[in-house]
Amino acid sequence: MTTTESSLEAFRQELSEWLKTSCPASILKGADAKPSKADHEAWLAAVAERGYTTPNWPKEYGGGGLSKEETKVLQQEVARAASYMPIVSFFGTAMLGPVLLEFGNEEQKLEHLPKIARGEINWCQGYSEPGSGSDLASLQTRAVREGDQFLINGSKIWTTGANHADWIFCLVRTDTDVPKHDGISFILFDLHQPGVTISPIQLISGQSDFCQVFFEDVKAEARNLVGPLNGGWTIAKRLLQHERQMLSAAPASGDDATSRPKKGASTKPKAPKSALAETARGYLGDQNERLAEPALRDRIAQYELDSLCFGLTLKRSGQQAKAGQGPGAATSMFKLYASELNKRRSEILMSVRGTDGLGWSGDTYTPIDLMETRGWLRSKGNSIEGGTSEVQLNVIAKRVLGLPD
């Protein structure tokens, strides 16, 4: 769909009118009061009615049917008028939705996509199993056909938000007599049924963002099989790509002063800032106008520098893709590097804060210190979840460098 400048302008006008009438006063920008729950729900309903929770999905599936340009205008106008845009479950909109649009049949799209767009159903993802971590394809959860249904037995682990989810999209084994990749199917089913047990997993950081989910003779309707029977691995790989990309964002770097030429700026521009260095300064102070501990300063400089270079690598890769100059660096590299950078950042923060960073709980530590410490512990999982760093290195070696098996 292409959109001319003038039609875009008309769209913007129309949006502006719609916002005036549809966005509750308490949610308008600059409103004093905190929006009530009812206002929030009204705002979500208004946005969802037009399909704007998933603006570029087709209208018939509950989306907004907008072009890229229109989506941008929508974001701009909402940002201008409202204090926030309502969001619905990420697993529905960013993971399952695109898969259904690509691999689902018409009936599946009509049934599931509108509910995702309206935020009616919370989804979770059933991938890893206790015995299948890096080797995902060795999964053992069985699905056996019985009439119009599949009977599911097994267990999934690392299921984010399963304890708040309604439905699961799940990889299951539907054939045990073929090579492991060829006997996997992708199926959707309701978690609110007998035989489903969900146990949150406590992490070393104290958080429980993951669950283990057990299935004992759980039922899935056969019509909720997405893609062909035993053809689930293709879908699985596509979803892993999505996931890896999302985990590859460059961690917070010092600044972007270098990326924005400032016309008419003084010749001695204000030095850009490093958030990490500023934090360190608070703990260590300065010596001769430099951060006091040279070894730590060097580590921070190395981090900021790598972070800057990594951000540029991401940008370059995007531009290369756009310019059709080959695939650029692999997403595996991005996932790998982003994880390792974030781990490094957390370790530096621990060094900076010294024994102030050792608190687990209680008010003798500042909330920020406690949060950063939990964050440090949580960061250890970055290089495991979404494919371990080792798996990413394997993928780079094989796919990008073409090294032999």
């Binding site: 299948s132 406590q202 992490l203 070393i204 104290g206 024994t355 687990w360 209680g362 290089s383």
Partner: protein, 379 residues
């Protein structure tokens, strides 16, 4: 210079390993953590350890001690590291007890050390005032009056301060923060007026305290050692505690390393044991080297302290730097190689990682000790 254990030390090691494995394995720490125990360890078990002679290892027989040395304490602390046993060796035996033994009057020793040796008395050395270890950065004031001193200031990260029977407080009788001269140590009753002890909760499920002193009055007899020369006692305590915590770190590294190698030999992925993956093999072999180096330097540093060698402080810093880095490497690699399961609270690797981080940051991290090592090597 012997770097192997004597027969007696081997025996001590076996006893400690057996006792701790049976009575204070990692699950023991977890229990105290989960029930949010106010003490954080078993006083009863501590008395049993004392009965085995461990709490009195470095003290004179007169006071009920075993008259042994750091070498023997190191043996026990390594086993504590392997089991994450949260017992007050550092606070009470090495630092508090060490300071009393080295600087106390006969009366002070007689009043305190027998209780320490019996596992009755807990001591805590209160020196640090900010999150970063810096030995003489002490501002807490001790103002002299007619019949004693009044102490005012705030201390952080006071190991086992929450249950200490005696606090040993480093305060300034002269000079300003950062100066080596002018520090004096005082025995302080934590329940005395103006003394507030606030328990803090650290990631390793042990307990430290924040201590607020608001004009706490102490008599002249509470002075430990010479007035103004407290840094001599502190230096001694820091060197010993630095090596002691290094020995604990060696225990942690060795244990996590062994568990990880075992995991590599049992966990299957892609139809094979993950220990067959060469990249993991090489990383395991590199860890092995780090662990070996840690073990060797700690053994020598312990003996250097016992022999009062001129280079002992330098070795202490070498040990702390090496062992901190090794433990950090091994616990992080150990967790990574355990994969998702390593991230769970249920698996014990995370508990080792947490304790290793606390030990790493106790009494100066690797960077601090590398710098000190350089300074003591003349550059």
């Amino acid at each position: 210079m012997s770097l192997v254990l004597t027969e007696e030390q081997e025996l001590l090691k076996e006893t400690a390993a057996e006792f701790l494995r049976e009575h204070a394995p990692v699950t023991h720490l977890r229990e105290f953590r989960d029930r949010e125990d106010a003490v954080g360890f078993s006083r009863k078990l501590w008395k049993e350890m004392a009965a085995l002679g461990w709490a009195g290892i470095p003290f004179e027989e007169t006071f009920g001690g075993a008259e042994l040395g750091m070498a023997e304490l190191g043996v026990v602390l390594e086993e504590c590291g392997r089991n994450l046993a949260p017992y007050p060796f550092l606070s009470t035996v090495v630092m508090g007890g060490g300071v009393v033994a080295a600087g106390g009057t006969d009366a002070q020793k007689q009043a305190i050390l027998p209780g320490v040796c019996e596992g009755e008395t807990i001591l805590a050395l209160a020196f640090q005032e900010t999150g970063r270890f810096s030995p003489y950065a002490i501002s807490t004031k001790a103002e002299a009056g007619s019949d004693g001193f009044k102490l005012s200031g705030e201390k952080v990260f006071v190991l086992d301060g929450h249950v200490a029977d005696h606090l040993i407080v480093a305060a300034r009788t002269s000079g300003t923060a950062g100066e080596r001269d002018g520090l004096t140590l005082f025995l302080v009753d934590p329940s005395g007026e103006g003394c507030e002890v606030i328990r803090t909760n650290t990631i390793d499920s042990r307990n430290t305290a924040r201590v607020r002193l608001s004009g706490v009055a102490v008599e002249t007899s509470a002075v430990l050692g010479e007035i103004g020369a407290g840094a001599d006692l502190l230096d001694l305590a820091f060197d010993r505690a630095t090596v002691a915590v290094s020995a604990e770190l060696v225990g942690i590294s060795t244990e996590v390393f062994e568990r990880t190698v075992t995991y590599l030999k049992t966990r299957e992925q892609f139809g094979v044991l993950i220990g067959t993956f060469q990249a993991l093999k090489h990383r395991a072999a590199e860890m092995f080297c780090e662990v070996e180096l840690s073990q060797a330097v700690v053994l020598d540093a312990l003996r250097a302290l016992d022999e009062d060698r001129p280079g002992a402080s330098r070795l202490a810093s070498a040990a702390k730097a090496r062992c901190s880095d090794a433990a950090s490497l091994v616990t992080c690699e150990g967790l990574q190689m355990h994969g998702g399961i390593g991230m769970t609270d249920e698996e014990e690797i995370g508990l080792f990682l947490k304790r290793a981080k606390v030990a790493e940051l106790t009494l100066g991290d690797a960077a601090y000790h590398r710098d000190r090592f350089a300074q003591l090597t003349g550059f």
